[in-house]
């Protein structure tokens, strides 16, 4: 029974991807695709089991274990949410079929990784996920996205190679491909250090630990919002899953690598947060926030590598963190998409109703960047009626972004706190952007004649896809600091 569900879980997105490819049932496909992760969610409620699939690859073993279950559940929820969201977000996108294809393939890989119980099948799913995600990142074909895709691909290939070398050595040292009991066997081998080094670097690229994070702040803003959500919420977590599966955590103390992990982790944690503060694009802010959070994870890993006895505590913390970060970061990304007025208000209320529920938060207008520059604290989340939304999720952006030392915060603080502020006519100076209510009411973004500036936006910024327009290369972003125009990122 479990085996059948597992097979269904992997076959569903693959079959849907094939249908997209062959252009079959195009009418209902988007709706079907949104539900592709349902079998995965069901599987997450099953009892742990393993099944040997000897004909697949090199004696594969698939199954569910307590660690995999947490990852599977979170991953499935995120893909479901992103799938629903994408249905509305890309409803009028000319290339939505292509997006669906890569989306479903990436989903297959991501779900497969969580149930893979041996090295080779893990690598296979991991690779499928990594390569298919390229299609998501370059979806809009803008120069910046293509550039992000290029960086992503180069780093992915590098990561694949490190992992290939690492897994071959792992196999040589442990004489086994199954994850079961792998840490103990690896800990007993003489070349444990080299294997750990290769795996740390290989999965570190996926995890986005500095200095291997280069692809992350480029790719997250480049991808369409639902893809960014899963990229940040689920996909980069597979790097952590790789660590949990293959490193000798809790079995052996590796002081050298522990020091490296703690050092790199701390630097990442702080530096990424600092760089994130200079970003203008909210998705880039979130990306750096992810990098920063991954630094925290690396510190935890370092601690576990130093003190194997503490592993049970650390692993619990890490799993909790996985759930927290996945859900929170996905919610933030999806919120940015809503705030980006890609979907006009009517749309949010209409088709997007599902989106809001899917995200698990009541997000109407996430005035993330706006508020960030205005009240100096974080983000003002209000729903469609302008009512404040004091749910847990509304605190998360503050958590993620942290205190925002904006020089003008005092001046505009009251503005941003005004309940009905978002509904005021747009009388602020151009370039400041502002609340999205008027934008939202001004009709569907994509129907606005080209060249006509969006209300509240600077001339020339009337882009149907805000959030893409102001994307700059990181160097620019860092150089063009907020000290120059602290509020200019507002409508991005």
């Amino acid at each position: 029974m479990n085996e059948i569900l597992l097979g269904t879980m992997l076959a569903t997105p693959l079959a849907l991807a094939a249908m997209v490819l062959l252009r079959r049932c195009s009418a209902i496909l988007p709706r079907l695709a949104a539900w592709a992760a349902v079998p995965a969610l069901l599987l997450a409620f099953c009892r742990p089991f393993t099944v040997d699939v000897s004909w697949l690859l090199l004696d594969s073993r698939l199954g569910l274990d307590p660690v995999g279950r947490v990852f599977l559940a979170v991953t499935a929820v995120l893909w479901l949410a992103a799938g629903w969201y994408a249905g509305s977000y890309l409803a009028r996108d000319a290339r939505r079929h292509e997006f669906q294809f890569f989306f479903l393939l990436t989903m297959t890989g991501n779900l497969g990784v969580t149930v893979a119980q041996d090295v080779v099948s893990f690598l296979a799913f991991f690779t499928l996920m990594s390569l298919a995600a390229y299609g998501l990142i370059v979806h809009d074909r803008r120069p910046a996205s293509l550039r992000a895709g290029q960086v992503y691909l180069v780093m992915t290939v590098a990561g694949e190679m490190l992992l290939f070398a690492g897994s071959v050595l792992l196999f040589h040292e442990t004489h086994s491909l199954a994850f079961d009991g792998l840490p103990a066997r690896l800990a007993a081998s003489p070349r444990c250090g080299i294997v750990v080094g290769l795996l740390l670097a290989g999965f570190g690229i996926k995890l986005g630990v500095m200095p291997l994070h280069g692809w992350l702040p480029l790719a997250h803003p480049a991808a369409p919002t639902p893809a960014s959500a899963v990229l940040s919420g689920a996909i980069i977590k597979t790097g952590l899953l790789g660590y949990l599966r293959m490193l000798p955590l809790g079995a052996d103390a590796l002081p050298g690598w522990s020091d490296v992990c703690v050092g790199v982790g701390l630097v990442t944690c702080v530096l990424a947060a600092l760089i994130g503060m200079t970003q203008r694009n909210p998705k880039a802010v979130l990306a750096y926030s992810s990098v920063s959070q991954m630094g925290l994870v690396t510190v935890c890993l370092g601690a576990a590598l130093a003190a194997p006895a503490a592993w049970s505590t650390v692993s619990t913390a890490l799993l909790l963190w996985v759930v927290h970060h996945a859900v929170a970061k996905a919610a933030l990304f999806l919120g940015v998409g809503v705030a980006g007025a890609k979907m006009p208000c009517g749309s949010v209320r209409g088709h997007g109703g599902g989106v809001r529920r899917a995200a698990g938060i009541r997000l109407g207008r996430c005035r993330l960047a706006d508020a960030r520059s205005e009240d100096g604290v974080g983000c003002d989340l209000a729903d469609g009626s302008g009512r404040n939304c004091p749910g847990t999720a509304s605190r998360l952006p503050r958590f993620a972004i942290g205190a925002w030392p904006d020089p003008g915060s005092g001046r505009r603080h009251r503005d941003s706190r005004g309940r009905d502020h978002p509904r005021r006519p747009r009388d602020r100076e151009p370039g400041r952007g502002g609340p999205t209510a008027s934008v939202v009411r001004s009709g569907p973004a994509h129907r606005r004649p080209a060249g006509r500036p969006r209300l509240g936006a600077a001339p020339g910024r009337a882009d149907p896809r805000p959030g893409k327009r102001h994307r700059r290369r990181p160097a620019d972003r860092r150089a063009g600091g907020r000290s120059v125009r602290p509020v200019a990122m507002v409508r991005s």
Binding site: L56, L57, V120, R141, A158, L169
Partner: protein
């Protein structure tokens, strides 16, 4: 003669006889020629399947004639020869289908298909050869029957390429003949019996045996395109696409690699090779070729030339596999014989489709080809990912076993070479995939010739799709008892698997 003796002969004859008949047909007797061709190809696949079934049940298939005193003509079916025969039979069938569609309305088709069949007969013959001398006979026959295919178009360029090919191949053949005669005079007739004759050879002979080994490798290395004997291969790209496909995947290049496997595994035996100290130089030569071919491939703009340099690199995976002592690497090398064939033939089929249908021959013209020819480019993409060694394709399985085998004998540098080669493969294949799928097509293709109601004619479309599916299945289902990997294990462990 019993049925078991007839079978190896029949396998060779199933392409030889149609080939000879085709020479006597008129250019216009298209239907008869096609029927003969396809019948021969299908018959060969069936016969090989029968033989596979028998050998898996430990039946002996052997036929032997005394040519002169002490020299036998022997055909013998063992596990290794069957692996190669199966590969060539299946891919020949697909290539025949492809070639029939490809050469529609072009001149000299009788000559082409005649030599095409002879070429495959030679390949089958050398795969089934039971001793070194029989191998040599078919090896020379292969050289002579492929020359007319290389120069088929008759342009000055192809004639030049043909001359270069003959120069290299015949010199290689001469060196080989010298080595074989010398070896026979030292140790007597060399049979591929699965046991090394040289294990208990007189230590005084070791010096001479080393020289003979070098000569044998040089002779086979010409066809296997080991650096610096590779120069003819990129030139030979002027041949029509089905010829290139067959040349690179099955016939010529593979014959060289297969010869090297025979020399290391069956003539000398891997233990004796290690004892003589010849494996490390061979491994270094293979590694050099792998890196050289990959680096050169990066700089080619002609699609088929890039694929040719890629072949130079990939064939040496096979040589590297047999040059590293230890079963895992040998499995990797031998299974790559099949995997490389399937992947490379897909790439050449796709390149041929692009050239025939759109006139796209250069990498700089590949933009947007994925939109115009999605099925062809999908096959190309899968095969290219396989070449890089992306799991779960066939290429990954080969690479995994090669690397694990290198780790087994603690030759860490080999892993470095494999990783470097994969990176280079990614560098010269990923931009192609990117251009094909993620860039917009140009306003007009260089020379578009629409064929049929699909993106191109079915005969051109189906073979690459089948081989692309095989590329994935060979990797994904590597654990199945009928996979190439399982057969390679059977060869290496000689039936008694752990």
């Amino acid at each position: 003669m019993t049925y078991d003796q007839w079978l190896p002969l029949l396998v060779v004859a199933s392409s030889l006889i149609p080939g000879i008949i085709i020479f006597f047909l008129g250019e216009q007797q298209k239907r008869l020629r096609t029927t003969l061709n396809l019948a021969g190809a299908v018959l060969k696949v069936v016969l090989v399947a029968v033989m596979l079934w028998g050998v898996a049940r430990h039946r002996e298939y052997e036929v032997r004639y005394g040519l002169v005193e002490g020299i036998d003509f022997a055909l013998h079916a063992d596990a290794l020869s069957l692996l190669f025969v199966t590969l060539s039979a299946v891919l020949w069938l697909l290539t025949t289908v492809y070639a029939i569609a490809y050469l529609e309305d072009s001149p000299h088709r009788c000559r082409f298909f005649g030599f095409f069949s002879l070429c495959v007969s030679a390949t089958t013959g050398l795969a089934l050869a039971g001793n070194l001398l029989t191998f040599l006979i078919f090896y020379e026959m292969l050289t002579l029957t492929t020359y007319p295919l290389v120069v088929h178009r008759g342009t000055p360029e192809s004639l030049r390429a043909g001359r270069l090919y003959l120069l290299f191949a015949l010199s290689g053949g001469a060196v080989l003949l010298l080595a074989v005669v010398w070896l026979q005079s030292l140790v007597g007739p060399v049979e591929f019996a699965g046991t090394s004759l040289l294990v208990e050879a007189d230590p005084g002979l070791h010096g001479r045996l080393r020289i003979i080994f070098a000569l044998l490798i040089a002779g086979f290395g010409v066809k296997a395109a080991l650096v610096p004997l590779h120069c003819w291969l990129p030139q030979a790209m002027v041949a029509p696409a089905p010829v290139s496909a067959l040349l690179h995947a099955v016939a010529v290049v593979k014959a060289g690699a297969f010869g090297i496997i025979r020399v290391v595994n069956d003539v000398y035996g891997i233990e004796s090779c290690a004892e003589l100290g010849v494996t490390t130089p061979l491994a270094v030569a293979a590694a050099t070729t792998i890196l050289y071919g990959s680096v050169r491939a990066v700089y080619q703009d002609d699609l088929k030339r890039r694929l040719a340099f890629s072949t130079i690199s990939q064939i040496s995976y096979i040589v590297l596999g047999v040059a590293i002592p230890g079963p895992l690497a040998a499995i990797g090398g031998i299974v790559h014989l099949v995997h490389q064939g399937v992947m490379k033939i897909t790439l050449f089929f796709a390149a041929g489709n692009l050239a025939e249908t759109l006139g796209v021959k250069k990498i700089s013209q590949l933009r947007g080809t994925g939109r115009r020819m999605p099925a062809t480019m999908a096959a190309f993409t899968i095969a290219a990912l396989g070449m890089i060694g992306i799991p779960p394709t066939a290429g990954f399985i080969s690479k995994w076993y090669l690397a694990a085998g290198a780790a087994e004998v603690e030759q860490w540098w080999v892993i470095g070479v494999l990783v470097a080669s994969s990176v280079l493969n990614a560098i010269y294949f990923l931009p192609l995939i990117y251009a094909a799928w993620f860039q917009s097509p140009p306003d007009a293709w260089p020379a578009e010739r629409p064929r049929g109601r699909f993106e191109t004619s079915l005969g051109l479309l189906v073979p690459p799709l089948i081989t692309a599916v095989l590329t994935v299945l060979l990797g994904l289902l590597a654990g199945l008892p009928i996979s190439a990997l399982d057969w390679a294990k059977l060869i290496v462990f000689r039936g008694d698997r752990p």
